[in-house]
Symmetry: D2
Subunit: 339 residues, 4 copies
């Protein structure tokens, strides 16, 4: 067990930050969680104490200035991502950052420029790529099990809408929720989108519409290769978190279903039934949060490319911006319009 470990500083111990911290501490043998920072120092201290992490800071610059820190995992609020990426790149740190990089392409490009100049690794937290179900579909495409892709469906529905206060500052459903699906589409097809048409509606809660957002949408993507894709989003599926994809290729189809807490099927005098799927992302995707960070650690230590790059992070945001414009102007929008 003498091989080199990656010394990591974690920035931000909100919900997802805590998950990454625990994984880095206990379940990723090649990682050493060296320090934790949060503007809420007490929160950082509590987390560090529980995990036995020695160093705690309120200011993340302390981590960036520490030469013993090899890499940072950025879990701060979205509006700080781009700046922190730039700072970390300038400090020569390897970078894992939660999605989205930013909500404007200008901020993103500035951050990616800094990363390119510094020559550091950058991975964006599109964890769903590391989910066994979706990874299996990608593998089916790569292995030729389904031939050349023709049509892709992505179903992505939350169990319920976020608080209306959150909706107001979320950047809109396309950037807040669909962004994961844009990345999934690009990941599965392995190609770039040329044109977007978004049909949105307010079906779940009028208050969401009053806040200027949507809660229901069908987004059609045309890929450069000619593949057609539709993303189906809803802020509310009463039966729980609904996360599926389905692909038709020239040689076959691949589809995944939801994950359930158990496989028990009960038949009574009324119907045949089973328990609802896992309810939300912390249950459904817990394992993928571990695998993505382990993959980042491996990539950095082994000098291989990170599996989700800054380009991926930028592309998903561009698609979100295009979808929003398409919805507002009710017309197909070509991606070059939002460059």
């Amino acid at each position: 067990m003498e091989r080199k470990r990656l010394n990591i500083g974690l920035i931000g111990v909100g919900r997802i930050g805590k998950v990454h911290a625990e994984h880095l501490r206990y379940r990723i043998p090649r990682a050493n969680l060296a320090a934790i920072s949060d503007v809420n120092l007490a929160a950082a201290q509590e987390c560090a104490a529980r995990l036995g992490v020695a160093r705690v800071e309120a200011d993340h610059h302390a981590l960036l200035n520490d030469p013993a820190i090899d890499a940072v995992v950025i879990c701060s609020p979205t509006d700080m991502h781009a700046t922190m990426i730039e700072e970390a790149a300038n400090a020569g740190k390897q970078i894992f950052c939660e999605k989205p990089i930013a909500r404007t392409l200008g901020e993103i490009d500035q951050a990616l420029d800094a990363v390119a100049k510094a020559g550091v690794a950058l991975q964006i937290g599109f964890n769903r790529r590391f989910d066994p179900n979706f990874a299996r579909v990608r593998k089916a495409i790569l292995a030729g099990e389904v031939g050349e892709p023709h049509l892709l469906h992505i179903i992505s529905r939350d169990p319920g809408p976020p608080p209306i206060e959150y909706v107001r500052v979320s950047g809109g459903m396309f950037l807040d929720m669909t962004i994961h699906d844009f990345d999934m589409a690009r990941f599965l097809i392995g190609d770039e989108v040329e044109e977007v048409y978004a049909a949105g509606a307010v079906r779940v809660d009028p208050a969401i519409g009053e806040a200027g957002d949507l809660d229901t949408a069908l987004v059609t993507l045309k890929f450069k290769s000619g593949v057609l894709c539709v993303i189906d989003n809803s802020r509310k599926a009463v039966y729980g978190y609904d996360q599926r994809v389905e692909l038709l290729g020239s040689a076959g189809g691949a589809a995944v279903s939801n994950n359930h807490p158990n496989t028990a099927v009960i038949s009574d005098a009324t119907c045949v039934h089973r328990d609802l799927p896992l309810n939300f992302f912390m249950d459904r995707y817990l394992e993928s949060f571990l695998v993505e960070v382990a993959a980042f650690v491996d990539a950095v230590l082994d000098g291989t490319p990170t599996p989700v790059t800054g380009v991926d992070g930028r592309a998903a945001v561009a698609l979100g911006i295009a979808a929003l414009r398409s919805h507002k102007e009710n017309r197909p929008v070509r991606l070059e319009e939002v460059k």
Copy 2:
């Protein structure tokens, strides 16, 4: 068994005509298959002999002029449907006609006018409404099992494209194939479409593109009530005929899967597998062809409305025309444009 039976004349004994003939003869107790006509007299005679039907004609007018015939089932080629509906209406016959009524709204309106003037019943052969899977989804909506509809997916893929000669005269995929799905969308949601956006592609066979048609499409429908629907079409799913729908409503979701020839699941050292779904419409929808005609016979004898009207037949064609225009002009098309 003394109750009145409906005396029926069948016009056209091609593939679907033969199916209707057999059902009318043996499996619909309230129907009496009194006569068969086909311009190909030998074909009509062969069919009549096999089923023990006494009267055979080359000219369908003989049936229309026979006062003993109560109703006609029109299974002629598409380009004769509208004229025959008009003639049958003028002759006072009750009418069951295969889809589509015609390929232009002008022809359809003329036929429907004649039906209205004559006050006869008209049912269009959208058999899928009578399939137990789709009927169950409709029932779920009507019974409030899934609440108010929000999002509908219709997957409708053929096992393989028709011959290229057929493609050339088919009227295009939207009128030839998607027309069933347009009707399914209207049937399930119980509302009219306001706007159509069609993204089409040639993915299966370049020869289809050279013939001026598509083989792959995603069609987005916006209903007046705000429901969003996407129809997924492909001319080729190598695993067989793929016919599914999936609905998300405010109180739940409903989804159907394909029908398989058996339920056997085999697990070997490689994978867990089962046989492919039923391959094409004659296997998959056989029962629905029986149920739709039985429903027509019941409606006429009982004096109740036919379950699929001329308005339904017209609406599906209007949607096909709108989809084609949307695809050609790459923009959403409102239904009032094609009125």
Copy 3:
């Protein structure tokens, strides 16, 4: 359509007799339903009139004495099967007979002797062999998909117990209900049973126990080849007719599930559910009743062996007798004990 058809006399128009009559008349092109007999002449007349069968008799001997009748389909009460088989064989008729042949091996042997002497064909009505699900499992074994069989489960449960009057004269659950499963075990494995152990219980209704019968059982079979099999019977599965098998072989496993009226799956805020399986044998096995008689007609006309022989009919009864003895004496019973 000039090829020879088999002229058939149907004996007994109870529930299953009516089903066979309709199939023979309409859905088996190589059969000609020439005559119908029933001691209840009015019932025979009603059935014949509905199907357009010219000849009706109260006494089945009239059919046996008619040289124009090639074959008989015996659907009389069980206690007349053996005698009628013998008579029909002596009259040189080909024979299809409902199960069981009789409830004692002595009667069966006498009937089979007559059949052998006359050199006529005999097929016993074990219709489940012709069900697509079970046929697929048999095919998997024959095709080597699962290797050499090791373990077989047969689940066979009725939706509810028959009337207690029926229970009293039924011959007991093993001869009345399990007999189908004994045949299924022999059919799937393609081998003879050496030893039977039956564990029975009264769990559904004490009245069944008071009538001297069981309503719940696990029957273990040891085949000569060493395959182990367990049959699970219950007179009452509240969710409907439960008819499944599952096989483990050296190279894989094969399992079938129940047939449902539709494939719709509904997810609401409570659970994921679907409609109950088809409720009882007339729905579940309707198609197999057609296929078995068509196979009989083919075998006779083509001079090939019938697919379910008198030996098969005898073996199932012998297993029922062995099971009953095993249950009563609470010990494994070897088949040679009941020869």
Copy 4:
């Protein structure tokens, strides 16, 4: 986080010992893994170093003599379980012990006597009770979802037989493998078995038979309450680890299926297929090993009964002994015979 933690000494760091050690260290907040012992001191040291456990011993008595140790987790070879339980009880330690307690009832009774005298807690490692699938079936029974139990099936098949050297010292399939299923049957039904009938065979590998053991079996259990149960065992299911139960009750049925690595279903021109189930117990039951030990820790700290008692451990062994006798003498064996 100031609440009391349970100080635990782990005895034996073989495969399952390592799993428990990791869970105790990282994933059970109320446990403190204070010390590790193994006769192979180097193995204990390696494990302790990796997990940051300060104390390591070759001799487990050092742990038993340490007043700071509250409880022991015994993962030594089977033939040492009973002695160690006795020693630990005499030392006043709370005890978690892997199954089986011993292979003779005499040894077990002596160990349980010591536990009773000492008044300490004892939990046996029947981890499958803590699996979400089986726990859901138990919950269905307790909640009355399926009414009163009638029939239970337990399917329990390994992906492949153990090495023949292991088979020779395993105590036989009934005590080595079926013991888990005996416990599962008692757990699900919540009742004691009255009689056992075991039909065994050698189907997988003749070498297993030559070693005096079986590789294939059907074991019928009659519970005191009248419930019938069959256990299906095979040492080799080529498609992987097959672990299912199915229950029929007076008001419904409950069945679980296997766990798969992903939910992807792939349809190609040949069949519809998915990946094989999780292959063996470390994958399939990993979570249950965590939950069982966490439950032990909770029970001890909260002063509540452990969820799997010494009585449970004894009963499973008694059933194994009865099954072996039944198989050898080919007759049903009542449980009182093996008391």
